[in-house]
Amino acid sequence: MRRRHFLTLSANSLGGFLVYSLDRKASLLSAQHKPIRVPLRFFTEAEALIVAAAASRILPSDESGPGAREAGVAIFIDRQLAGPYGRDRFRYTQPPFEDAPRELGYQGSATPRQIYRDGLKGLQGFHFLAPAAQDEALRKIESTMFFSLLRQNTIEGMFCDPLHGGNAGMVGWQLIGFPGPRMSNFDEIEKYYGKAFRPKPVSLRQATGSKVRPSEDEP
């Protein structure tokens, strides 16, 4: 059995409701009142802190709005890695593994889990660095498979349906004006030509009223 690890998220860091001032400056109304401790499925606490910090440099919380931190991206990535995606359940992983031209896609044997574990070893203490030093450290690994996974997974965690543990409070969707799953746009599709139509986001569970099971919870 692995020792239980938790990631503690402070009250004002997670989820919330986005409001825009007249000059389109976004501010977040916090939804949480006290810190929450989220049990980790794959990362150690130290790893989760590094991933959270690195994801925050990819999608920072800044004047253009909330970022990976408020969306809970580290929690999302932890669950993905613990699930079938993390262990390459659906990838062809038979040997021999050979180098290939770029057009044939990733040919390595390492799973996302292994790529993260190895990649994180090179970022020890990352979360204690100042933002500029963090950016410098990430620039050094920009061309690695680890970074490209981290970047992709950060985007996923920012904009996925909240049922996957990311996009907390649908902050990602609020940021870009995506309403989530809507059963019908029949009356609106031709009505808003040239004008923004921004219905309040709803999640899949809210829209369908059913407890949808995400793939990461499947065996």
Binding site: Y85, Q107, F159, C160, P181
Partner: protein, 587 residues
Amino acid sequence: MKTLPAVDAVIVGGGWAGLLMAKELAQRTSLNIVVLERGPSRRASDYSTDMDELDYAIRFRMMQDLSKETVTLRHDAARRALPLRQHGAFLPGSGVGGSGEHWNAQVPRFLPDCFELLTKTSEKYGANALPESHAVRDWGITYNELEPYYTRVDKLLGTSGQAGNIRGKLLDGGNIFEGWRSEAYPTPPTKMPYFSVLFRDAAKSLGYHPYPAPSANISQTYTNPDGISRGGCTYCGFCARFGCMVGAKAQPTNLLLPVIEKRSNVTLRAGAWVRRILFDAVSKPAAARGVSYVASSGDEIFQPASLVFLASWTFNNTRFLLLSGIGEPYDPATGRGTVGSNLTHQVTVGAATAFFDRPLNRFMGSGSAGVLFSDFDRDDLDRSGLNFMRGGYFGARGYGFQPIGAFGVLPNSIKATWGSEWKKAAISCYDRTATIGFAGEHLAYKTNFMDLDPVYKDALGDPLLRLTLDWRDNERKMAAFATPIAVQVARAMGAREINPFPGLHSYDATHYNSTHIQGGTIMGDSPAHSVVSPYLQHWQLPNLFILGGSTFPQNASANPTPTVLAFVYRAADAIVDRYLKHPGPLA
């Protein structure tokens, strides 16, 4: 191996082609039919909670499980092929309904000349007009012979659109460059996303002839000749890569399965992974005896049958013949053999990505709602000044864009790929960006083909299919020709900045192209160059029929499924009306 009681017909693959054949035979005969499908069973009602981009569009929940089986690829025969370890250029489905569950439902027809491409291009442009080392062939059938079956397909699907040519009468607002059709579309065009309307107006102002894309995501309630009713599309946008939660998208589970399930003479076995066709070479004529498969229990089973239908899509249709030793494998060195030849894909490129000042509301749309123009996709195209053969159509579709896939597409002027500057630009571009697509014909070449991989195996230990595939000058020049036209249209649409398509180089398996891959078991008018006749009947084993795009000698610009289905209807007619009375060659 356990042997089951013999049946009249076994159908391998429960996608569009296999289930349409099952439906036709079930409705019109009392044959005892078994359909074997490797994937899970699916029903139209499964899709009420599937609107989750991550699991469906990014993690590919409905697609083939590559851990069990994939294909290998190399760019030319001198290189070593490697497996495509993750999904990329194409997304084959698995499970009842096949790719027809998660498809886009764009349903144009092929141009008349496509079916007689070798003859027509030589007649019109000279014997040497086709590029060196092409393997272009006639199909052994004409558009006029196929037209009634296309019309049946439109009625089956309830296709929404506006006709441009009814029996030779050209109609404004439709596609006036396509072949004649005997009737108008069953339902009117779909509603249009804003981006498509901008495109339509710009194309018109430049003298092109835009028209609403024909769509099997239907515009309004429709009841088809089988009595199946579907409601209209709601433009939810969770369409391609998803099943439709309201049943507006034509899918095998909502159009074919309900008919099949009412008949007692069809059994559908999901989780049945077919491995071989067994055949008798000494009987006269030679005959298929049935197929062997591994059931979900792990048992090896032999299902004997009097009629065998392969409908397992291009790759496995070809692989089964190669694995079973049926016919002569194609050898590119000598040009001998037919099985595996004429592998074609499609010249699908994002010709111009345009960035606007205005919001586009891109989350509203469907897999096929949009506007196209075909001024460069016509049989009578004036080729003076063009350095390539054939052509393709331009389109602006509103698929219904979702954030994981669409976030971060930025003008070339922005270099950052992460961090604050990138994030700010990506937020502002998110709903102001769209791509004008181009889809062009892919000619067949002697150098593009399929055979068995000598190294890599599937989960059962059978060799994977190996693709030898690359673009050639004709495709590169076609894409280079299309790009400035799309840029010009984007400019006329008022785009603030435009990323032109950077050019076609080597075949790239990492980016989605389309799941329109054809060839391997092609049809033709003689066994010397083809595997099946235009009735889809195997030349040597007359009780074996091969359904699907594997029978296309080369690919057209248009999406293939209406053509696949038209040939299935035609084969079903010939089987019911003639073969069952007098088993033997139909052609």
